[in-house]
Symmetry: C2
Subunit: 203 residues, 2 copies
């Protein structure tokens, strides 16, 4: 089964939306409502969902609980994953305690920084380490995801270290694009791109 | 000219990519390279660009400088915009000094928080104020964009305040979705959705 990145992105957004309305005890949703919620056309949403061979469409629409479960199972979104954060400045420490990660099945199990002083000062329930212990801790804890929260100038070397340490995926919050070894999935979080998308729609 | 949100998103990514390669003095780029860089198909990229009636395609490919300029002009991405941040915890203060915003034409001109103590302790070149001065400062400075960096429980009330204050767009970093008055463009930054998109692609 080969699914395009765009479909995966949309399914993840659909999954997140289903998760939020499930908490509000909503039982059914139409494809047009789903489309509106994630900013795609109804046709695209139906096509994306049908590509995953998911059933659950009734006369009342999609059944929220079962659709979420099926989509999660097909894309392995129902698995709990361990993640670590590299770079414990303001952004990194904010992410260290970002409770939504845990709610959504992503457990931050470690933080890393190159500064011993910084590590000693940090007050968090999460264990923090010097970055030279990255590989050891990633193996020991079975960490699959690395989150980069260092300044631009160190981002590429951190991406290299994370790849070597054996993570399967990298989320990069630094303002530069990083290159990763093939086989590692990565995504650059681009804050200014978000501001551009908003202002391009100004009347 | 009616352009879909998906096209706008992709054009903004193309614009960001052109901006980065222009800095590396790259003069021409093919549509297939552009497609690869932003994770879309070549067909989609060509369609998106042609929708904006942009010229600049030569035998060597698109001319980077002129394509960037044209796309920027069509989507008003070449305008400098003023923004403010509400919520000056760790994430908010990290964003306050995020230099990339400035590089990309977004000027953070003010920060707001409800805590006077926090405001007094903040060391930043950006002016910070109590949140009850939001409307006054937004008008006075001509702020078009509001960035929400408060915890989930206060996010909706901050979105309401920003709408009342007269911003045209809102970027929400809180983990909940916010509702805004019609006519205001908004985008929720979803960190866990990014982790889901990555892990859905794990082998």
């Amino acid at each position: 089964m080969s699914i395009s990145n765009n479909t995966i992105e949309r399914i993840c957004r659909i999954f997140g939306y289903l998760d939020s309305i499930e908490k509000e005890k909503i039982e059914f949703i139409s494809s047009s409502e789903l489309a509106k919620a994630i900013g795609a056309t109804e046709h695209t949403v139906r096509k994306d969902i049908s590509q995953l061979n998911v059933i659950g469409f009734t006369r009342k629409g999609y059944e929220v609980k079962s659709l979420k479960k099926e989509l999660g199972r097909k894309l392995n979104l129902d698995k709990h994953r361990k993640a670590c954060i590299v770079g414990l400045g303001r952004l990194g420490t904010a992410l260290l305690d970002y409770e939504k990660f845990q709610d959504d099945g992503f457990q931050i199990v470690a933080g890393f920084d190159c500064s011993i002083n910084k590590i000693e000062r940090i007050k968090s329930d999460i264990n923090v380490f010097q970055v030279n212990r990255l590989k050891e801790i990633v193996k020991q804890q079975g960490i699959e995801l690395g989150i980069i929260a260092v300044p631009a100038k160190s981002a590429q070397s951190v991406a290299d270290r994370l790849s070597e340490a054996g993570v399967k995926g990298i989320l990069n919050f630094s303002p530069i694009k990083v290159n990763v070894a093939s086989g590692i999935i990565h995504l650059d979080m681009n804050f200014t791109s978000a501001l551009r998308v908003i202002s391009a729609q100004f009347k």
